[in-house]
């Protein structure tokens, strides 16, 4: 589905991503991991077309990134979703409407999207009255209202209390089982080890690229060598 070839990205002549190569197949649940500042969020922004001045190529189903984004929809849940202007009253249905066609909040789509994330009947609630975990589910519902082919999430559990993180990942696993292709930047890969089909560890370049079992062996060897 996604083929990234020789992707390099620089900010102010400093290399943030260096010669990144990987592929993600349709139906994959890919986890992008790496230490802080390793370029994970930058990589996602390249995949979403928000960082346009990169070198190399990103192809979706054989199409260039620009052509794909014109044709298909990519659901995006950002890390900063929890940092929107909380003081402004916004209802849940207004948020989800921004994910609907022509930004028009079709009631059926909104109800369906909220049902998928377990928030039935929350349409009229003020977003700021919800817990961090519920708010993040609203943002996922917004992404789902787009009927995306691919869902990309950037550290979605930042700011959510630990008790709710597991609940959140259960939702991710359910969406994956329903056939959604997911790319997730997270530090909590261990919570979804049974579901993740691909792990891409980056630290400017790709440090590891394989399935979860291979990653576990790689990680164990890596730790034994004392190279952490």
């Amino acid at each position: 589905m996604i083929t990234v070839k020789n992707l390099t990205y620089e900010i102010d002549q400093q290399v943030v991503l260096n010669d990144i190569n990987f592929t993600i197949a349709e139906g994959d649940f890919a986890a992008v991991i790496g230490p802080n500042g390793s370029g994970k969020s930058t990589l996602l922004k390249c995949l979403l077309g928000m960082n346009a001045k990169y070198q190399g190529s990103i192809e979706y189903d054989g199409l260039s990134l620009t052509d794909f984004l014109k044709k298909e929809k990519v659901g995006y849940v950002a890390q900063h979703s929890l940092r929107y202007n909380n003081s402004i009253p916004v209802s849940v249905q207004e948020v989800i409407a921004t994910g609907c066609d022509n930004l028009r909040g079709n009631q059926e789509t909104i109800t369906l999207a909220l049902g998928k994330v377990g928030l039935e009947g929350f349409e009229k609630k003020r977003l700021s009255e919800l817990s961090g975990g519920q708010q993040q589910r609203v943002f996922i519902a917004r992404a789902l209202a787009m009927h995306p082919k691919l869902l990309i999430l950037d550290e979605p559990t930042v700011g959510i209390d630990q008790g709710r993180v597991k609940e959140f990942y259960e939702l991710m696993m359910r969406l994956h089982r329903e056939g959604m292709t997911i790319i997730l930047v997270s530090h909590d890969v261990h919570l979804m080890n049974t579901e993740i089909t691909k792990v891409i560890a980056i630290n400017q370049g790709v440090a590891f690229n394989g399935n979860f079992e291979e990653y576990r062996r790689y990680h164990a060897n890596y730790c034994e060598c004392g190279e952490v």
């Binding site: 979403l48 077309g49 928000m50 984004l69 014109k70 929809k73 990519v74 995006y76 950002a78 900063h80 979703s81 929107y84 202007n85 003081s87 402004i88 009253p89 916004v90 209802s91 249905q93 207004e94 948020v95 409407a97 921004t98 994910g99 022509n102 930004l103 028009r104 009229k124 609630k125 003020r126 917004r142 787009m146």
Partner: protein, 284 residues
């Protein structure tokens, strides 16, 4: 007062223009405050004043005719300032507050210099700083009316995009929707509204008319649409009550409008607090 209102054209101009600005300033203010750009109207009113000061100077040295209305250059400056500030907020997201402060100080500096240089031309600075609603002509009223109508049509047609932009601009960019034109046009409208409101509430108080009604609405509303409705209602209450009290108390209208809005905000604040305490007691 009502008899005078029907009798004197200047009072009609004052009240009608006040009511129109009381509608459109909070309408745009909701989007400005949501974008965390509450300083923008303040900066633009200063930019507008620098246009008025330069026009006055140009009149004093004979480049512009004596009959030229300095407000026109004020409007041009405000629109240019709005476009500059729009670019500034786009390109330098992290330092936009400093950028706005620089534009504001620079404009005020330019205003002071050109007002001092414009010898022989009488510029009533106080009326620009604090507003002089009684000097509004029928022509001014028509300008405000056309602007009000265009602003309402623009917001009505582009509401969904404007909301999506202020709520989460990154998400809209990922959706591949074109937003630059809407965003830019919005800033131009803000520039125009600030410039034409200068005579009504004055440079120093225009941002209050754009932000105070929003501060009131935020405490009451449950959705963005409700915030807009409550902000406009609060704006109108502030303008109409402020104008009536300014008439009876013989005080400057700009000041009475702003004080009315602050009193309304305090009232709403106390009422919502009491409501919360009552609810808590009931649940306990």
């Amino acid at each position: 007062m009502w008899q005078n209102l029907f009798q004197y054209e200047f009072l009609q101009n004052a009240y009608l223009s006040g009511i129109l600005v009381g509608f459109i300033a909070p309408l745009l203010g909701v989007f400005i405050v949501s974008k965390r750009l509450a300083l923008i109207p303040d900066a633009l009113s200063h930019v507008s004043l620098s246009g008025v000061a330069i026009a006055t100077f140009l009149i004093s040295i004979g480049i512009l005719p004596a009959a030229f209305n300095p407000m026109l250059l004020g409007i041009v400056f405000s629109v240019i300032g709005a476009i500059v500030l729009w670019q500034l907020t786009r390109q330098f997201h992290n330092v936009q507050e400093i950028g706005i402060a620089i534009v504001m100080s620079l404009s005020l500096g330019i205003s002071v210099i050109f007002i001092a240089l414009a010898k022989g031309v009488n510029l009533d600075l106080t009326s620009y700083l604090f507003g002089s609603i009684n000097t509004i002509s029928r022509q001014d009223l028509w300008i405000v009316a056309i602007l009000a109508l265009s602003t309402i049509i623009f917001v009505r047609l582009q509401y969904r995009k404007l909301f999506a932009i202020v709520f989460d601009e990154d998400f809209i960019r990922v959706r591949n929707l074109r937003i630059n034109l809407v965003n830019g046009t919005f800033f131009v409208f803000v520039g125009l509204v600030v410039a034409v409101s200068m005579k009504i509430v004055g440079v120093l108080l225009i941002s209050a008319l754009m932000t105070l009604p929003v501060a009131i609405a935020i405490r009451l509303a449950k959705s963005f649409k409700q915030t807009i409705v409550y902000a406009v209602i609060s704006g109108e209450i502030g303008v109409i009550t402020g104008l009536i009290s300014s008439y009876y108390l013989n005080l400057p209208s700009g000041g009475t409008i702003v004080v009315t809005l602050v009193l309304l905000l305090l009232g709403v604040f106390v009422w919502t607090k009491m409501k919360k305490i009552k609810q808590k007691r009931l649940t306990d």
